[in-house]
Subunit: 378 residues, 4 copies
């Protein structure tokens, strides 16, 4: 029986809402049955119609939805929250309190206190919670994680992670483009611009793959586009708990880059490089040996990568499939919960990862405001 | 209202059946409601259960399915045929005769006469017919086609197309691996081995993108693996109707290649290169100018590419999304047919492309048997 | 003591003459002391002055030069012949007869009989002879050869070699451009256009690396540029003596390619790919393993590659260094000859390779003229 | 008439000495006629013999050499100093005082005061001085500089430069390997390890290409290999005088990298990327347009690139050719000086660039020692 899913946000024209819907649909384990797609009732209704949702389950606001669906027989079991950052906390809280599992887009909240409150709520409620740091769903990202966990790199020394884009190279937000408008608005995005939107992805990827903790950071932030209030370029130095060093660069004014998330991890014995725009490949260099290109679906791929793979090597999987892997893994958790089984640890980022992401943003902003000083992340 | 879809073949464990199902599901326009998934009744039933199909609509054989679904109120509107090559013709015929649209995997049939019979049937029946030359669903393939149609390359001079794989480098078919077994068996695959399995894709891609006709071919075929009856390596020279020349290489013993379909088209003024394993890029070289890399979802992409695009540039789409584009386009046709509208010409390969593919195989085999001589494709 | 070198051709403005001079100079083993740089006495003299040659050793014609230098005490020990194709045979003959070693640009001659005559002369005279199939000088080409000789690929099955360029995409020869003019003129280039100029390189590379013999070929030639008398695009199918199959594509109208010589060799166990525009890398794929990128100067490079390497890995060597490797190896031969030592077999292509190249051109032309038929190369 | 050149250091077995010699030889404008190749008289003599130097001009020490050659008729006009860092200052001073032009390897000195003293001496003496920041000799590096100077990128916003290597991933210096030994020894290398050896190259490249000044830097240095006294990994943040921001990463423990110098410059309108291991290419992305790959020798290359190019596009030039470009340009200066002509500004890095490099090292070390704080470079 498919998992009954609701959605908050994601009305027609939204980008990430449609991504979540395709991801939920891809492996045929969810059924979207309810939604509060827009704060505009008319737009909400139209979105519901287009999606074939029963009109009685199209809600004008998330609070009503949480209440009604929480009580209803056959109500939704999980909700996807795909609103702008400042509108994550309230619905997440409402659905948790209504006994509904939550899939929340990143960053978890626009404020650290809110994030921590959600973390407490999750712990108290026993509900499941996922934060869609979707890049962790790529098979070759999981391959990298598995190889590092297996000691194939030896002790990690250096991590270079970067996430350059160019879509905010001009003052697009002034043109009324919605995606740009809320992401550059502190009231809706929170304290971080590129930091929150993409820096958090890079940061999560770093900790997810290395399974190291970043202990302290130093940030240099800038807004290159005139009149922009939030950072559009961020340089962050990182110290890891094992002594490793790293640098993170996030930019939305890096002309020529579409979605250039790239992670490089260097250990004593070997290194790995992964590039999101060619996600089916993982470059693996052992000291003194020729660099190898490990591919998804090949004999060189390990257990975690294979578990997240649908089609043979050479038939590229992409962004949507990686996103769907999170939905798929979360479905495993929900089904286990349904049956009262123990929830086994999963590769899906949880509320803890969400909190760390918000903390990363706030700490980086504080470091930069103080002229670029080292700040602990704990 | 979603399109009611049935499936012939694709029982659990099959590769291409699952690909068709994901493709049908991705854009939420089809609902799989019936199937004859396997000639083994037990396996058929289990597959149906896993897929959530009403048991009364899981059929032991395609003939019964065609008859019952054709008469039933709310019966399927379209069927996907995903069996081995020699089992395309009979079900395709049965469903066409039952008034049901057909989506057939490639090659259309294992025999040219059968292919031509289907072509006549399609013309008589007025039913819609798609052959899943799925590589034509990639946005950047359509971009290439559009650019050539717009004259951006000038007169085409040379086409180099290749499709190397390595999965049949050993006698895998002797191990009982199903995919290998039927593809290397003349009784099930037809006269072509690599020619039929992948050469037809390369051939279709060539004509699809250039919109030229290949007038004659000369083939050199070989079976490198001992005991193999069908070609596992094919070199084909091509003469085009406009005077262009080309070479097609298909191999399933090319160690190091997973699914290396690559098309290069050279015109008087410019050239294009597309590689399936990095499908979101199209290399475009104008004589005397620096080579450009056009990406899916970017400002440089044209109308056809954009129409086949779901997510922004830099967020890679892959094989499944391309496959889904054919399903999506075919859904447009079916909906038009439902409403009695004129079916506008579409980018979905039809029965004609299917016939040409089978003709390509038979002509290449005849050329090679005669020691490598030029043979007309007409 | 440096080797005393002369040059025929290569007057100021020539491309390949300057390449030979830099190659000779790079490792400091040759000294250019005499020349017949041009048939135009004034241009010859000026070239000599620029090169710091004693005016008394600047000759108006090669015949005089051969005679005088052959007799002179301290006369040249070797001569580099860098004239257009039709002017290779006569000077080569003259210098051999004068007891002077010869370095001749490729193709050896514009006519097979001439080539064979030179071969006989070399055998009779005991002089050393090199043909500058310079791509065989690249370290990673030699690495490929060594790996194949060591059996790392198993039995070779398929060879794909291509050499696309685009500089003759238009009728450049009509503009008076010298390089284009003689290369497209049957009287000066011989029977092959792209075949002779670059196809022979691709052919030599194939045999050099695989150490197989091409037994028979089938060619499809075309001249795309209006009014051009020689082929500017050549498709050649190849059968090898061990049963391997291959295709060779040479084109000078392939827009977007500068000097795109690429060799791919597929064996039972593994494959290799080398691309001239990134010559310090060799891609090595073992069946079932991740593809490796072997680099010049790295721990993965073998004896032959290392012997042809000057600087560490990651510090790219290029075309001139590869060319210089032939000069360097030939210097070893000359020094051995000086001292009356046995000449050990060398990687420098000799007169035999030269004859085979001319035979390749003539056989391909004959195959094409007969409509594309298989022709023996023996 | 060739320029008479001497050399200090570079005895047999040295890496960089041989590079300088090949570079000097490549374009036939220098003649090596004297040397103090080693502090070991025997080794010096043997090196001289191998190089064909008149024994009377093989000196046991640079001081004698400077004195004698400075006075001698037909004495050397220029000297190349290719010793370890701590042995640059004294010979440079001696030759300047002897009226001989100096080509000095980088970094200029191991100490800032020494560097400034040399700068004063150059100004007083009127002698010519070059520091071999050789990466500035690559044609496509000069192309990048020219494009930025022409405003093709608009105002520069971000610079990402990195120089990863892996040859010091282990404690190679303990094995007695000479190159490793002096580079990790503060007494011979100065205050910087990877900073001085490769960081200075990255820093110079940044300023050379952008023609911006780095105003202040913040450094995080580490020595990963146990017992190593100097940094083997350096993260440096940069603020430029025009408000641009940047990051520089130098590492000699980055497994998988041979000589991975990479520069990326992002402007308001466009960006450029250059990678030393594929030096004939320059990636150029204009906002909203498809990325272009500009190649050396192509129609897209500009004046500066073409002036530094010997052979056509697609025929790769490499590290030695780039190095030779500095020698070639410096020869222009020397010849102008010979003739008493005005020395026109040149692309060869001079003593000023040398001083800046040393200042970069000292400032970075000071920043890191203080816990990672911003320090002015002025």
């Amino acid at each position: 029986m498919k998992i009954r899913l609701g959605m908050v946000g994601g009305g027609s024209g939204a980008f990430i809402g449609e991504v979540h819907r395709i991801a939920a649909r891809l492996d045929n384990r969810y059924e979207l049955v309810a939604g509060a797609f827009s704060s505009d009732p008319q737009r909400c209704k139209e979105s519901g119609e287009q999606l074939g949702i029963d009109p009685s389950r199209c809600y004008d606001d998330f609070a009503t939805m949480a209440k009604k669906e929480g009580r209803k027989k056959g109500g939704i079991e999980a909700v996807a929250i795909v609103t702008p950052n400042h509108l994550h906390h309230a619905p997440a809280k409402a659905f948790l309190e209504a006994g509904i599992h939550v899939i929340c887009d990143k960053p978890l909240t626009s404020d650290l206190e809110d994030a921590k409150e959600l973390q407490s709520l999750v712990e108290q409620s026993g509900q499941l919670f996922a934060v869609t740091y979707n890049y962790s769903g790529y098979p070759m990202v999981r391959q990298a994680r598995e190889m590092i966990a297996n000691g194939e790199l030896g002790a990690i020394r250096v991590v270079q992670v970067e996430y350059p884009q160019d879509w905010l190279s001009t003052d697009l937000e002034k043109s009324g483009q919605k995606q740009a408008a809320w992401r550059t608005d502190p009231a809706r995005a929170g304290a971080g611009g590129s930091l929150g939107d993409i820096g958090t992805h890079a940061f999560h990827l770093t900790e997810f793959v290395t399974q190291l903790k970043v202990k302290s950071i130093l940030a240099d932030l800038n807004s290159f586009v005139s009149g922009r209030k939030l950072d559009d370029n961020a340089q962050v130095l990182m110290h890891f708990d094992n002594g490793a060093r790293g640098a993170l660069w996030a930019s939305q004014v890096a002309v020529g880059h579409e979605n250039g998330l790239r992670l490089r991890v260097y250990g004593e014995k070997a290194s790995l490089e992964w590039f999101q725009e060619q996600p089916n490949r993982l470059h693996y260099s052992v000291l003194g040996e020729a660099t190898r290109t490990i591919t998804r679906g090949s004999d060189s791929a390990g257990e975690n990568a294979n578990a997240a793979t649908r089609i043979p090597g050479g038939h590229p999987e992409g962004f949507l499939e990686a996103f769907a892997n999170l939905y798929n893994d979360f479905a495993d958790q929900i089904e286990a919960a349904r049956e009262g089984k123990q929830i086994t640890p999963s590769l899906v980022p949880g509320v803890g990862a969400g909190v760390q992401g918000v903390q990363f943003v706030e700490t980086a902003v504080a470091s930069a405001k103080n002229g670029g000083v080292w700040r602990s992340l704990e």
